[in-house]
Amino acid sequence: MTPAPYRVRSRRPDRADTVTLTLEPVRGRCPAFLPGQFNMIYARGVGEIPISLSGRARSGALMHTIRAVGAVSHVLCDARPGDVVGLRGPYGTAWDVPAAAGLDVVVAAGGLGLAPLRTVLRELAAHRSRYGRISLIVGTRTPMTLLYPRELARWRKSHDVDVQVIVDHPDHAWQGPVGPVTRLIDRIVFQPRRTAAFVCGPEVMMRAVADNLVRRGVPAARVALSLERNMKCGVGRCGHCQLGPLLLCLDGPVVDYQRAARLLAVREL
């Protein structure tokens, strides 16, 4: 439960309330991690929160994309290069990207859900030829709140990924579709029975997307969600992250829809 000190190497504002911090250990090397895993990041004297890994920098440093919503995330978003935070991890289950080899891939993100999926996209792009059609569908509140716009363009252009974006609230310049991200499922091409899906976003969004995909014939066991619960310890000891039989810090955050569907269907479980 004792974190190691990590120095902020760089800070990149992504949107009005979101920054990507690149962190490197004050001593020693960065740990290995898998797409979908998270770290517990500690802001001195304020608190510690779970944040997904959103990438690895060329230097090997760890990237985290953080939205300022409360006490700890605000302090972390305000961190400056050179500041020191605490970090422990990586924890939790991973997106099983290699298992999608030979299949079409649907990656669905809602809002900040794109952050943990960025590691999936990078993994897919690194071994592009192993996979069939790759579609990335992204829902975002407004065109201004779209995360990683430059990378989306690169994936579309250089890695043969069908990238589609939909917004809840369009501005004057927006010419794309408007509505929930499920609406984009009609616009992408995949063979349901030979498809793997990676879904991350608000819980209602994930359920809607997963239900929709499963109804079209994608096997529920191949639809992976990243579930979020209050987490204090990250290692199965504090009890906060329970969802029925699951301790989401150990058995999640990535859970397949075959297991998750009936748990998410129970109100306030």
Binding site: M1, T2, P3, A4, P5, R7, V26, Y42, R44, G45, V46, G47, E48, V69, G70, V84, G86, E228, R229, N230, K232, C233, V235, G236, R237, C238, G239, H240, Q242, G244, P245, L246, L247, L250, V266, R267, E268, L269
Partner: protein, 356 residues
């Protein structure tokens, strides 16, 4: 080493103290039998009994001098395996220093079979997939002297849970208190237990001592205040998430957290951060928490389990069913504390039989 018989526990307490243990045993305090440090067998609650019922606990007077003539009190071993509050680490400038966990050498005298089972449950929680070294150190520093229950309380149901009333494993020494003449049969359960026994005056246990001890546990098992039918509970309890009884029990539950605090296996915790006045040193500590609090499941300002119904359902379902999925055992050992110490007398055994 075989079982032995001794007329007094004084030499045992002395022997434990002489090898450096703080002896913690039952004493009468605040109208209840509480676990506290003792220096002599004189301090044990001779002639004290108890009456326990849903929402009620009262000390009674026995007509003999038995020193363990009562059932489980409000304290369990949890206080010693998982302290109510512990400092985790400090951060000063750019340095983070781990705080050496306290692991006092404590001999717990009078641990019941249900509480031994509860320690075994906590071992699975804290020494499982991410072993907790502080827990391991505290656990190794604990010397456990069990007592086989003679008089289960009105809220006990360890026999249903398969955890008691006789201590069968996980102790250093196990005592059975026998009457006429008043004497203690002590069996070693570990190497260090046997070692301690060599230091106390005794005679070897004879046939009739052993038979009397067996009779104590046999009659105790027949005098359980309550029972639970646990067959298939892992399946039917989670499946009953829509049962109308949850609404009924939620209308009586105050979300006061007493049940979780008194429960010997409830392990939930939260963390607190403080910074000293100079602002230079920040400290993080961990303390007991309860799934009955609203902020327990808070996500982005709203709790996932906002209703008392959802919180009670989570607690009961976790204890009796989903605990198996997570740790391979039941989270309930049948000690009855949650029933006795619930201010509105909610009885888990009754709730379960209504939901079944």
């Amino acid at each position: 080493m075989d079982a032995l018989v001794t007329p007094s526990l004084e030499p045992l307490i002395e022997a434990l103290r002489s090898v450096g243990y703080t002896v913690v045993g039952p004493t009468v305090k605040d109208g209840a039998v509480r676990m506290a440090e003792i220096w002599s067998a004189e301090e044990l609650p001779a002639g004290v009994g108890d009456a326990q019922e849903p929402g009620g606990y009262r000390l009674t007077e026995r007509d003999d001098d038995m020193v363990f003539g009562f059932a489980a009190g409000p304290d369990s071993a949890k206080r010693y395996t998982q302290p109510p509050r512990q400092t985790l680490f400090r951060m000063r400038d750019q340095e983070i220093e781990e705080v050496e966990p306290e692991a006092p050498r404590v001999a717990l005298l009078g641990v019941r079979a249900c509480d031994l089972a509860a320690i075994a449950v906590q071992d699975r929680v804290f020494l499982g997939r991410h072993p907790d070294s502080a827990y391991r150190r505290r656990r190794e520093a604990l010397f456990l002297v069990a007592v086989n229950c003679a008089v289960p309380g009105g809220t006990c149901f360890c026999a249903s849970m398969g955890t008691g009333p006789k201590a069968t494993a996980g102790f250093d020494l196990a005592i059975t208190e026998l009457a006429a003449p008043h004497r203690f049969l002590i069996e070693p359960g570990s190497e260090r237990g046997a070692q301690i026994l060599t230091a106390i005056p005794h005679r070897a246990a004879e046939e009739d001592d052993l038979a009397a001890a067996q009779e104590v546990s046999r009659t105790a098992a027949t005098r359980m205040g309550r029972q639970v039918d646990t067959t298939g509970i892992q399946d039917w309890l989670p499946a009953a998430h829509d049962h109308p009884r949850w609404t009924d029990v939620a209308s009586r539950c105050l979300s006061c957290t007493n049940c979780t605090m008194a429960c010997p296996t409830c392990f939930c915790s939260t963390v607190e951060d403080i910074t000293d006045l100079s602002g230079d040193v920040a400290e993080r500590s961990e303390r007991w928490d309860s799934c009955f609090t609203l902020d327990f499941t808070e996500l982005g300002g709203t709790p996932v389990r906002g209703s008392a119904l959802a919180r009670y359902r989570q607690w009961l379902t976790h204890k009796f069913a989903t605990w198996y999925d997570q740790f391979g055992v039941s989270g309930c050992v049948g000690c009855g504390r949650c029933i006795t110490w619930c201010p509105t007398g909610i009885d888990v055994t009754e709730e379960l039989s209504c939901i079944r």
